[in-house]
Symmetry: C2
Subunit: 298 residues, 2 copies
Amino acid sequence: MTYRTLHAGRSDNPRKLTVEPPDGHSVSYAMLGRDGSRDIVAIKTSYKHGLDKGRAEQHYYTALTLYDDLTGLPVAMMDCSRIGSLRTPAVSALLARECAAPGARSALVVGTGTQGRLALPFLLTTLPELDRLMLFGTHPEGLAAVRAHLHAHAPGRELEIVTDLRAAAAEADVVVATAGAHTPAAVEADWLGPGALSVLVGHGLAPSTLHRADRVIATSAAQMQVTGTDMADAAGELRSVDAEFAPVLAGVVPGRGSDTERVFAYNSGLVVTDIALGHRFAQLALAQGLGTEVPLWR
Amino acid sequence: MTYRTLHAGRSDNPRKLTVEPPDGHSVSYAMLGRDGSRDIVAIKTSYKHGLDKGRAEQHYYTALTLYDDLTGLPVAMMDCSRIGSLRTPAVSALLARECAAPGARSALVVGTGTQGRLALPFLLTTLPELDRLMLFGTHPEGLAAVRAHLHAHAPGRELEIVTDLRAAAAEADVVVATAGAHTPAAVEADWLGPGALSVLVGHGLAPSTLHRADRVIATSAAQMQVTGTDMADAAGELRSVDAEFAPVLAGVVPGRGSDTERVFAYNSGLVVTDIALGHRFAQLALAQGLGTEVPLWR
């Protein structure tokens, strides 16, 4: 719905603002968007501090402020971290629904962080016929967490921990790469079988999967140019995008051209998806009387 | 201080994001900045609704969120409307200190809204030798409010309400134009005397004051290109800026070249000035135990 409205030109999702001090110890973002179907304007901000330190010493704050653009009144300000962690796998699942080959049965998730843990539960909502669920990861506690999440959301489904990434990739109809920047995993294009869909959320795919794909889809071509530079080829070039996901989801452009095409999909977050999910959460929270009313404006 | 740090390249003040629906009934902005002397990162947001309605039916919300970039912790989120209304006349007063002719004694304020009411009290802090304080306005309650503000801040100072704008402009060493977009006031360049400084905050100066000035200063040349389009000449062109205010305040560039130059100064708000004032207010408020602690991030 969010993507369809964006495609219809009734939403706005301008590029984000970024501020970093010269020493790079922190980074801040501000994003502004408008959802033309919900009539919601929202600002998403994030501030990350301690990039020069270990993960335990880092601080990360992200907030979403929603205004009702019909009444002109503020709706809520909310922590955006959970929203951000949920909207990305939801979009990966939609990408899989639109771009996976018909009859896809096997999925491989690379990475066991927040995104790795949520990938399979969401994938199963759009592709319930998946019957082989593979996971590649290097952190034992992460592997256990992915299994726990899967069993909580889909009791009875089996998780297959793989160690031969190449063999697993060859057998996967859908690969979702969610690993961190330091992952040893790098699935190559020629490991993939015919018809494979590879979705890049974090890391775990080699640039060849982009450059040798039969079709490239991105949630935002402009954002991919900014944040996807690690996928550049030897000449420093990024392959251009065949279609953005909004027209694919709107049914205007096909997600794939044939059953055997290898499709590469780049999933970077759009603030309009934060708005959609954040507004739903805010409605539920307000209905339950959650939150604190703050006298910010008098 | 804020401008000096900006000039020294230790602060960041990127362009703002804007979102408007196609029918223009609302407008939203997001600004992100970093103050390199205070080590504060801040996001300023504003949302205005009801632009198609009368002022009484409009909604306007603006908020400033501050992060301490040394500790990485949030400082406060605060209403930014009062901050925004104070930082602008403070900058006008600094512009007057740096760019008015030596021995300036007379000031003319055009407009009686929020900015008109604060203009003279601030001007008197940087130019206490001003002894002729003129005001042009069209709203009786606005004229009374300007007088009340002046007397509250500078008891004993007289305010001269002028009706002949041209004659008043000819006698003013400093003109500060703060009127609303629908003002009938439009001071022309050839009304001004030698050495006059004209500062544009809102409306009230004709484009000739910019185009025929001997020197043009702007708080931000880039912002002036975006927000100053009503000052374009008949060909739609804006005269380029001779200097930004940051190097003037830093003492690197002179505010004027001679006692008789006519200087035009464009005062548009920079988020770094919101940060400076907002941080000071937040420190004072926290010291007094004001505000509400909200469990936004857990």
